[in-house]
């Protein structure tokens, strides 16, 4: 902007401040910037740091923070792809040198990373746009959107980028237009652009993540506001621990198959919503079962008590092979490409509803319901109906007609299993194809002899990806065999689920602001569903965390896997056992796919404002700098989809470390810190700007693990913060050391890097910790009195405790930051 820029004066308390230079270009958004500063900046802060806002940001507007992250956690690429085909000059094999355009192998990896994040963003922008357009058509653009009684500050992933949460559908459209506008810029850089900096490409990948969380939050909000989904912010705090009740039926055994069954699958709930409405209008609720696979199922249990949540989409083949759906309704994103082929194997009728999955069919949206029904009855198996209302009505009418024409069971008989097993040549092609090393020829050999024990175990562990079946040269229908080998497991797969509750409320944040100082960590478990071979591991992980007094939030299809665990004594699930609050020793479910935006970044942004008055309007870098210093961890467990990649990127950019499960080994890059490199671990003194060395924490921002044990052990370690109360650090030491001892048989070798004083040591471990510090690390210890006499700094100096806490980390209460511009200074440029 030129020097002739007009002043824009904001008044904060008694201070008047010119905010015309607080943003890159204030033209057209003067009022927004002024209002953002006046409502969320304190007078104290205005006078101590340079105001900088990033409304409607491009990636580069937040690059100062991204650079900090990428410098401390340099990308570790997997280099699994080496040939670039992104432009007309290609293909270029980059292994041997640069591509025709000058692209190096490493920059190519960063481009792949950005491409993955862009794909994830595009997928959800489409979902959000479809929903919004429908809402505007149905309700008009002036329709007000409600936030819920207690969502005082609105949507935090939205506020953090554009200052304000929309109040009408028109404003939602404007907000979404911003998000959609970011995609072409990011895609250009990812594909045909000439961006040559890895840091800038990764910064853009982060940006795709932030924009995705923004769009997901808008989607969630429309679901509540326009379709009355369960929504905790519309409840009083006293109601929330039991809200929504954990009474939704879930699992394959929850469906009454004596009734006609409609199964919905995909990311779009509208046709399910319309089908349920039609059923209610015609009193058919008792006569028809409606069930959902994956995201739509999580949505359905939020608006219809009788809905059944079947399974995550990663295991949808189970539903198809069992022939569960008399009618199957497909929508966008989470459907398998061969869903129609699979469904036809068991004579299901299929209605597909999305413009992204048209299967070469003509849209029947303009045809009458009777005409469509008549064709389906005559022998048509698949139709495309893009009008959700019509699709819902056709599904309900059709299912009543086709039910009796289908077989009652599609399971193989025992003799059929043996017959197929006899064809096995023990080549182990199936074992080599299986990502979880589950099936092999010898298991089929036992089955041929009548021993189904091993086959029965696979039923639970397999993701039903079908790779083994495809690899088998004898065309043995292995997935059908797994199902038939353990029919009772299907009946027993029946449990109670707490439906999603939407956003974390401001009241809960006020509560946790008090307990967070002693709470070890807030964990958010997200993702698309179980890893093959994992069985009930996700539930075990959630159980461990909640029992250790962590606050646990789950969202995405993984939430259902958490519900699968039942305490042996009580027979109750985790959801039935623990209150649904955002608080220590509580377990809450935010909801399906788009609710992944609600459980980690949003509540922490809000916490930053409520507890520390850290401004949140268009202030992503400032908030992330705050969140980074608090104990929160995201665990992404499940397939490494592009949506998962972008969701993870968004959380990292919010300052939250992420652990990805074994499926995350397909991610394009990780962000790992190096605890041995002391130069990387510092913070700035908030008053002086002096750099001070700190503990290496959080050590990583994105790390893959192989097992649940590793994830459990990493959470407390990544939750160490450089400033925390003694009791908090005691809890973390307890969890960290116990987890290692129990799961790996020994203490970790780096715990001493987190010790500052003896009062932070848990009582039960203090004597051993002090002894080891003396014997192995060269500290001077008074063992009798249990005191540190001299602590050994990592630079080799022996320091008395008082000096050590100043020279290694910062005292709690001291304001610290990672960004130069956030260091306090007396401002002379006030009006």
């Amino acid at each position: 902007m030129g020097d002739d820029q007009k002043k824009v004066i904001a008044k904060v308390g008694n201070t008047e401040v010119d905010v015309s230079n607080a943003v890159r270009d204030i033209r057209g958004i003067e009022d927004l910037v002024k209002e953002s500063v006046e409502t969320t900046w304190s007078e104290n802060l205005v006078n101590q740091i340079k105001i900088s806002l990033t409304p409607y940001p491009h990636a580069s507007d937040i690059a100062e923070w991204d650079r900090f992250l990428l410098e401390r956690y340099p990308p570790l690429y997997t280099f699994t792809e080496k040939e670039c085909r992104d432009c007309f000059q290609g293909p270029c094999n980059l292994e041997g040198g640069k591509g025709a355009c000058g692209l190096t192998l490493e920059i190519f990896q960063a481009k792949l990373s950005l491409q993955s994040a862009c794909k994830g963003l595009a997928m959800h922008l489409f979902t959000c746009r479809e929903l919004l357009d429908y809402c505007i058509r149905e309700f008009g653009e002036d329709r007000e959107v409600k936030w819920g009684k207690t969502l005082v500050y609105g949507l935090m992933n939205v506020n953090i980028l554009i200052s304000e949460s929309p109040k009408t559908l028109r404003e939602v459209r404007e907000a979404l237009t911003y998000a959609e506008g970011q995609l072409p810029e990011l895609l250009t850089a990812a594909n045909v652009g000439r961006e040559s900096s890895i840091i800038d490409l990764e910064s853009k990948a982060f940006h795709a993540g932030s924009v995705l969380l923004f769009a997901m939050e808008l989607t969630e909000w429309l679901k509540f506001s326009m379709f009355d989904f369960t929504w905790a912010p519309d409840k009083e705090l006293t109601e929330i621990p039991a809200y929504p009740p954990p009474t939704s039926e879930a699992g394959l055994g929850s469906v009454d198959r004596s009734k006609p069954v409609i199964v919905f699958m995909g990311n779009d709930f509208l046709s399910a919503w319309m089908a349920v409405k039609y059923m209610k209008d015609n009193s058919l609720e008792d006569k028809i079962e409606v069930a959902g696979i994956g995201s739509v199922g999580h949505d359905m249990i939020r608006f219809y008590d009788n809905a059944r949540l079947l399974i995550s989409p990663t295991r949808a083949n189970k539903v198809f092979r069992l022939g569960m759906g008399d009618v199957i309704v497909l929508s966008d994103t989470c459907c398998k490409i061969d869903a129609v082929e699979e469904a036809l194997k068991t004579d299901s009728k299929i209605i597909t509803t999305s413009f992204t999955q048209t299967y070469g069919l003509e849209d029947r949206a303009l045809d009458s319901v009777d005409d469509i029904l008549s064709d389906l009855e005559k022998g048509t198996h698949v139709v495309l109906i893009s009008d959700p209302k019509k699709a819902g009505e056709v599904a309900v009418k059709l299912v009543q007609k086709v039910k009796d024409k289908r077989k009652s069971s599609y399971l193989l008989s025992t003799d059929e299993i043996k017959k197929y097993a006899a064809k096995c040549t023990d080549c182990d092609a199936c074992f080599k194809a299986c990502p979880a090393s589950l099936i092999s020829g010898r298991i089929l050999k036992s089955a041929m002899e009548g021993d189904f024990t091993k086959l029965a175990e696979i039923h639970d562990k397999s993701s039903y990806c079908g790779k083994c079946e495809q690899a088998c040269p004898e065309n043995i229908p292995l997935m059908d065999i797994f199902l038939a080998a353990n029919p009772q497991a299907i009946e027993e797969d029946n449990f109670k689920m707490r439906p999603g509750r939407g956003a974390i409320t401001s009241n809960e944040i006020r509560d946790i602001a008090i307990t967070m100082f002693s709470m070890p960590s807030a964990v958010s478990i997200i993702g698309c569903g179980n890893y093959p071979g994992a069985g009930s591991q996700v539930a075990e992980m959630a159980k461990e965390f909640v029992e250790c007094n962590l606050s646990v939030v789950v969202s995405g299809c993984i939430a259902q896997d958490v519900a699968r665990y039942k305490y042996p004594k009580t027979g109750k699930t985790l959801f039935e056992t623990y209150p649904a609050l955002y608080n220590p020793r509580c377990l809450t479910n935010c909801g399906g796919c788009s609710a992944q935006a609600l459980g980690a970044s949003a509540p922490f942004y809000k916490l930053g404002y409520i507890a520390f008055r850290n401004p949140y309007k268009s202030a992503l870098a400032q908030q992330a700098d705050f969140v980074y210093r608090f104990a929160a961890v995201v665990i992404m467990w499940g397939p490494a989809t592009d949506i998962a990649y972008a969701v993870v990127a968004g959380h990292i950019r919010a300052g939250i470390p992420v652990i990805v499960g074994p499926y995350g080994s397909k991610f394009k890059r990780y962000l790992l810190g190096n605890k041995y490199d002391r130069s990387k671990w510092w913070m700035l003194h908030g008053n002086t700007g002096d750099k001070g060395e700190t503990e290496p924490t959080p050590e990583h921002m994105l790390i893959p693990v192989e097992t649940v044990d590793e994830a459990i052990a990493l959470v407390p370690k990544l939750s160490f913060t450089t400033q925390e109360m003694d009791v908090s650090r005691q809890n973390k030491f307890d969890l960290y050391l116990n987890a290692y001892k129990k799961r790996f048989g020994e203490w970790p070798d780096d715990w001493h890097l987190f010790v500052k004083k003896e009062t932070e040591m848990p009582m039960t471990k203090k004597a051993k910790m002090l002894r080891l510090l003396e014997e192995e690390q060269g500290w001077e210890i008074d063992r009798k009195r249990g005191k540190i006499l001299k602590a050994k700094h990592r630079d080799g100096r022996l320091l008395v405790p008082g000096d050590y806490v100043y020279e290694y980390g910062f005292k709690s209460g001291q304001y610290i930051t990672t960004l130069d511009r956030l260091v306090y200074q007396v401002r002379k440029d006030r009006v």
Partner: protein
């Protein structure tokens, strides 16, 4: 490069700065009537090679006094390899050859692909193109035979 068992044994013996990396399915898989982890321990003992135990493998090695083993996250190991100064105490010097055993294919593929500086060898039963050296695709029986052969050659 696909290696025969004798070539595998020869390479392991030749490379002085070597490290065994034992993954999470070492605990779960039985190969030729033997736990996969037993093969790792045999190789470690015969060649005096330290073991980085990833996943939850360490639990089964902790009481074995005949070998040097340490629990690490696999990602940490490959991360430390990318900086010039080697500081991880499991070996005094940066390892030049990492021998992987007991991994899901996707995981070991990711791990070896990240290593740009140093040689990798995968002894699981799926051929790993991304590794410097790999065992071929094998059935369970062939795998057991292969590993037994490697052990026999290491004894020579």
């Amino acid at each position: 490069m696909i290696l025969a068992p004798d070539e595998t044994a020869k390479l392991i013996k030749e490379e002085k700065r070597r490290l065994l990396v034992a993954g999470s399915i070492c605990n779960d898989l039985e190969v030729g009537g033997k736990n996969l982890l037993d093969y790792v321990v045999d190789i470690a003992k015969l060649t005096d090679t330290p073991i980085v135990a990833t996943g939850s493998t360490m639990f089964h090695l902790k009481d074995n006094k005949e070998i040097k083993a340490k629990k690490m996250m696999a990602a940490d190991l490959v991360n430390f390899l990318r900086v010039e100064k080697w500081e991880e105490p499991i070996t005094p010097e940066r390892p030049e050859l990492l021998v992987f055993l007991g991994y899901y294919p996707d995981i070991v593929k990711m791990l070896v692909s990240t290593i740009r500086d140093g040689k990798t060898m995968v002894l699981d039963n799926r051929y790993m193109n991304e590794a410097t050296y790999s065992a071929p695709d094998m059935s369970f029986n062939e795998w057991a035979e292969y590993l037994d052969n490697v052990i026999d050659n290491l004894k020579k």
